[in-house]
């Protein structure tokens, strides 16, 4: 069921067009992400939903009610700010209970609600501490508890993990997902980190320059990006030039360096027409063939141009005749599998089904 619906939303700041004709439905109970580079309008969109910015045109409905003229204090939304915005002059418990000030609950009930909220985010017993004495991860939990104690219909998260170090960030990703499943509240996450969005979201809207480039579930977004831009923003992608000669259930395309291929139509999610086309190949769908190794896939000869060793994986750049940029591919470092050196000749196995046609 649709919980939030935006229609024809535009927002300008002076001569900067922050949101362009946003049409978006967000479902009840889903973990939704707004993903995009900085300046793409994702935070503005979140602030429009929260009520901190009014759209210039278009309408926003939350749970069936129009939000025009409704202030942030009266919307069924709560927000976790990028800076967490923990009130520094209050204790942890006073911070978490701040939103209950206007509730008619008894003092004892409020105290219980605060304790329950702290427990939910794993901060039981921290209530009496000064908010300033907390670590980054703890501040984030306080911000979460403070927002969730009001049982909002929507929790808005503005880059909540960007200030944390990598380890804590990955741990918080998992905790946020669990928490969302537990409370069943719709979460809307703003992030520039594609991995974070892929890990946590049910659906992702990728935004560029104020508009939505693609809205899909993480797997579709990763496997079948509809444009070169989306493909380049999400994960790593090799881009090759090609020429489409026939379309239909199978697309007939000549790919630089790889020759003629027949690609199923679903591999062109953004549609395709005869003529020049950009083809995307994910690094993990390519593999190196080691000496004497045979494959039933297609293969092409090349030379190792660059080796980047990550421990669990090795990324190779392989120069292939007829392809302008070397192909990037990733190999798991299995036992007994050698790591090749720069300059060694090799063969690359590839598959027609892993090509994605991305328009021009």
């Amino acid at each position: 069921m649709t919980l939030i619906s935006l229609t024809g939303v535009n927002k300008h700041f002076a001569d900067y067009h922050a949101l362009r004709d946003i049409e978006l439905d967000i479902r009840e109970g889903e973990f939704f992400s707004l993903l995009g580079p900085s300046g793409c309008g994702k935070t503005t969109l979140l602030r429009v939903i929260a009520g901190f910015e009014d759209p210039d045109t278009g309408s926003l409905r939350i749970d069936g009610s129009g939000m025009a003229g409704v202030g942030p204090n009266l919307r069924p939304t709560n927000m976790v700010f990028q800076s967490y915005a923990i009130f520094p002059h209050l204790t942890v418990a006073e911070n978490v209970g701040f939103g209950l000030r206007r509730s008619e609950m008894s003092r004892a009930d409020k105290a219980r609600a605060v304790e329950a909220a702290l427990e939910m985010v794993g901060l039981s017993g921290y209530g009496a501490r000064a908010a300033n004495a907390l670590s980054g991860g703890q501040r984030q939990r306080v911000a979460l508890a403070r927002a969730l104690i009001l049982k909002p219909k929507v929790l808005l998260l503005d880059e909540p993990l960007s200030a944390l170090d990598k380890k804590i960030r990955e741990q918080m990703q998992v905790e946020l997902m669990k928490l969302q499943r537990e409370v069943g509240i719709t979460f809307i996450l703003v992030t520039h980190d594609q991995e974070e969005a892929l890990v946590m979201s049910d659906r992702i809207a990728v935004m560029f320059e104020g508009g939505i480039g693609q809205l899909d579930d993480p797997e579709t977004l990763y496997r079948r990006p509809r444009s070169k831009r989306v493909a380049g923003f999400i994960g790593m992608m090799n881009f090759l030039r090609g020429q489409v000669s026939a379309t239909g259930a199978e697309i007939d395309v000549a790919v630089e360096g790889l020759g003629r291929c027949r690609v199923p139509a679903e591999q062109a999610p953004g549609g395709v027409a005869a003529g020049p086309v950009t083809i995307g190949i994910r690094p993990e769908t390519l593999s190196l063939l080691f000496e004497g190794e045979r494959t039933d896939r297609m293969e092409v000869a090349g030379r190792v141009d660059e080796v980047v060793y990550y421990g669990d994986m090795t990324y190779y750049d392989v120069a292939v005749e007829g392809i302008e940029k070397p192909l990037t591919l990733s190999m798991k470092n299995l036992i007994g599998r050698p790591v090749l050196d720069v300059g060694m000749p090799t063969r690359v196995a590839w598959d027609e089904r892993s090509l994605v046609l991305l328009g021009r």
């Binding site: 202030g71 942030p72 204090n73 709560n78 700010f81």
Partner: protein, 267 residues
């Protein structure tokens, strides 16, 4: 390097030695202000309390300083708050104009206010005229202190309060006010001190009731009164030092409360 150190020490001596003479002669048991000193006494301080006209001047000064402090701080809060918000038309020139009295010669301000009050509005000179003028010259200091307090605030704090159900006025009261309170106290103390010590404007604009500095200036015509002036001066200097120290302590506490690093203050 050594030359610089000598210079710095000489600089401080020239700056503060005359002030150090005040308490020295205030406690000196002699009618004339000259070395050698001739024994300690507190009689000049005792004499102070005997003078009705002095007590009047003191009361006047306190009323003026307190009123000025409140007015200048309230207006300063409004200005600093406006300055901390998003850009609005003419924001910079307007804030610049408010800060201008900081560098305007006081005698010019005094003369023009005298002309304005007496010639243009036909007002009599009273404490009110001095309060108005003192508010004008204290405002830049208030704003300088309060600007720091407001600008250090994360704008998300107010938004968080709104998001959690508060209105703009209640968010201001519950979140912003407590966080800028040290700045407000600091501004009150600084304006109070400036008004208390100010001479030129008070001299031009005071009516029948002089303020303390004006009264002291009057005493200087009587050489026999000089030790009493020294005693009074000692009290004023001590009071100023205490108030300004308090102001600085409050400012630093404010920064700590907001969890921020000290980036150099007003004092």
């Amino acid at each position: 390097m050594k030359g610089l150190r000598v210079y710095a020490i000489a600089y401080l001596v020239f700056l503060y030695a005359p002030i150090a003479l005040l308490p020295l002669f205030a406690f000196n048991d002699a009618d004339i202000i000259a070395f050698p000193l001739s024994g300690a006494t507190t009689r000049w301080f005792a004499e102070l309390t005997q003078s009705a006209s002095l007590l009047d001047a003191a009361r006047n000064s306190l009323i003026i300083a307190a009123t000025t402090a409140v007015l200048s701080t309230v207006l300063g809060v409004c200005a600093a708050r406006a300055a901390s918000m998003a850009d609005w038309p003419l924001k910079r020139p307007m804030l610049g104009l408010i800060m201008l009295p900081l560098v305007l010669p006081e005698i010019i301000v005094a003369v023009s206010l005298l002309v304005l009050a007496v010639q243009t509005f036909g007002l009599g000179l009273s404490n009110t005229t001095i309060i108005a003028a003192h508010t004008l010259i204290c405002m830049p200091f208030s704003i300088a202190v309060l600007n720091g307090a407001f600008q250090n605030l994360d704008p998300a704090l107010e938004e968080a309060a709104l998001d959690l159900g508060e209105t703009r006025p209640s968010a201001f009261r519950l979140v912003i006010l407590p966080l800028v309170m040290p700045g407000i106290i600091s501004s009150l103390l600084i304006s109070f001190t400036i008004s208390l010590d100010e001479f030129i404007i008070a001299f031009f604009l005071s009516g029948a009731n002089p303020t303390m500095p004006v009264y002291i200036w009057g005493l200087l015509r009587f050489p026999g009164q000089l030790p009493v002036v020294m005693a009074l001066g000692t009290i004023l200097v001590a009071l100023s030092i205490v108030l300004l120290s308090l102001a600085e302590i409050m400012r630093r506490r404010g920064l700590r409360r907001a969890g921020l690093k000290d980036r150099g203050g007003f004092l």
